[in-house]
């Protein structure tokens, strides 16, 4: 999805589910980086996922951001399609998404049957 997307539409994808190229959930559209807001053709530069991205989302968001790590920045050209979910072109791991599940997998993996 390389074409310029209307900013109103862009803002409507805030808080939507992100799905990676393998069809796996990999976070939410927590914030957006938009360039050229003062020009006639602003465009989305990247999707910001997790951690610091919540800082801009009100009081509870600032609190949540403090308790978590750095956000992951996903460049807009990585987006494949926008429907009721935002689908990415590549698997989550290649975009450094879903690291939380990987981090805890070692712990959960110790239990038989996991």
């Amino acid at each position: 999805m390389n074409k310029v997307i209307d900013v109103d539409i862009a803002l409507s994808i805030l808080d939507h589910q992100l799905v990676d190229g393998d069809g796996q959930n990999c976070g939410k559209v927590d914030d957006l980086e938009i360039a050229g807001l003062d020009t006639d053709s602003p465009e989305i530069v990247e999707i910001i996922v997790g951690g610091n991205a919540w800082r801009s989302r009100g009081l509870l968001g600032r609190l949540a951001a403090r308790l978590s790590g750095d956000a992951v920045h996903v460049p807009w050209p990585e987006v494949d399609s926008v429907t009721s979910v935002v689908t990415l072109k590549r698997p989550a791991a290649e975009l450094r998404l879903n690291r939380g599940d990987e981090r805890w997998a070692a712990l959960v993996g110790k239990v038989p049957g996991s």
Binding site: D15, H16, Q17, N25, C26, K28, R57, D101, L107
Partner: protein, 411 residues
């Protein structure tokens, strides 16, 4: 319906028994019956219709848009309000899970005679192992079908020969006797809260996504939500009738979770007691599992993680740790020795406060053609959905003041 569909109705039956008749219904229906006799039966009808309306909507949204409830809560209400709803719902899930675990431990105690405090950790370990080992469908079947032991209360209600004229009268709201107006209203709110607890819709909608419902399952959704909750409603009637016919005349106030089972023993002897305890054990145990999973579903759906019982636990590690954490925290809460009946009352009353933010996004999405196409709400679903939304707004506002004013229904 095909055999496969008949089997799939198990989802509705488990939600009905484990989700509808859980510790909240046991406590509120028997206490209401012991104080007001049959006069509050009409409230159960209103509660049952409410949970049918919203569960059907949730199941339809899951089948058509493939989106579970908490995904939509975040999407429609934004990050701040969504996070507030998440926190409120997790507190309610935790308190409810703790209350259900207390109920499981009490059933174990009545069945084995071992000390309650020793049985609490055993109950949690047993439930966690079941949740870990059994596939989703087997959890539904084992706990749903064994929970049907609660049907013994329907037999007990008939055996106790209540005044059926008075029972019929209880289905019509009107003047009341036996307690103050405030206590009466507190029980109205509590019974509605117990019938429409939010974790039921979290679990039902996520379960439908886990079962990979599609357009073909729309009929199944109607059938399961209606049959399941109507069955649950009948059990609620039975509990209130048993309490009204037995406890009210004797002046017994059921402040102990095992009291309803004793009513079954009074009417049907040892076998009645055993069936009642098994029924309560599995209904309450199933609800404990549902609340812990609801906790995991909500976290994962708010933050966009991988989730689901179908995923290998280590792959969806944050979801797995979330539901395990609900069990672990609930264990700590019950081990404090706080009275499970009181814990149940708090969990039901607080869940009422979390209801509007759970139900509003469902109502909005079910009306959104971009998501639902031609399967948007019809007139009936919208009129009922709107009326019930107004009702839960009112009870959400009055719930905590009524609890404080009546000292939790003590008058």
């Amino acid at each position: 319906m095909s055999v496969k569909n008949v089997l799939a109705v198990a989802l509705g039956i488990m939600s009905a028994i484990g989700g509808f008749v859980d510790i909240g219904d046991l406590v509120f229906n028997t206490q209401a019956g012991a104080i007001f006799g049959f006069q509050l039966l009409w409230v159960v009808v209103i509660g049952v219709v409410g949970i049918i309306v919203y569960s059907e909507m949730c199941g339809r949204v899951s089948a058509v848009a493939k989106r579970p409830v908490f995904d939509l809560v975040r999407e429609r209400t934004g990050f701040g309000a969504g996070l507030a709803t998440l926190i409120a719902s997790e507190i309610v899930n935790l308190m409810t899970c703790a209350a259900e675990i207390g109920g499981v431990a009490i059933c174990f105690q009545l069945l084995s005679g071992l000390p309650y405090r020793l049985l609490i950790p055993l109950a949690v370990i047993g439930l966690a192992v079941c949740s870990w080992v059994l596939p989703f469908r087997w959890l539904e079947r084992v706990f749903g079908y064994l929970g049907l032991g609660l049907l013994v209360f329907a037999v007990a209600a008939i055996k106790l020969h209540p005044d059926w004229g008075q029972v019929a009268h209880g289905f019509v709201p009107g003047s009341h006797s036996g307690g103050s107006l405030m206590v009466y209203l507190y029980f109205v709110v509590g019974l509605l809260g117990a019938a429409m607890t939010p974790y039921e819709v979290y679990f039902y909608s996520s379960g439908a996504v886990e079962d990979r419902w599609g357009l073909k399952e729309l009929r199944l959704n109607q059938v399961t939500s209606i049959i399941g909750y109507v069955l649950g409603g009948f059990l609620s009637f039975a509990l209130m009738i048993v309490a009204g016919a037995l406890f009210l005349p004797l002046g017994i106030s059921p402040q102990f979770l095992g009291t309803p089972a004793l009513a079954a023993e009074h009417a049907l002897g040892q076998l009645g007691l055993l069936l009642a305890l098994v029924g309560i054990l599995f209904a309450v145990g199933g609800a404990a599992i549902e609340t812990s999973f609801a906790g995991g579903y909500n976290m994962a759906q708010f933050f966009g993680w991988r989730w689901g019982k179908r995923e290998r636990p280590a792959r969806a590690s944050r979801f797995t740790l979330s539901w395990l954490a609900i069990f672990a925290l609930a264990l700590l809460l019950v081990m404090t020795g706080y009275d499970p009946v009181k814990l149940t009352e708090f969990s039901v009353i607080f869940s009422v406060v979390a209801l509007p933010l759970t139900y509003l996004p469902i109502l909005l999405i079910a009306n959104d053609r971009a998501y639902m196409g031609s399967n948007v709400n019809g007139k009936l679903a919208n009129v009922l959905g709107g009326l019930y939304f107004l009702l839960i707004l009112v009870i959400a506002v009055v719930a905590i003041p009524l609890m404080l004013l009546t000292h939790g229904g003590q008058g």
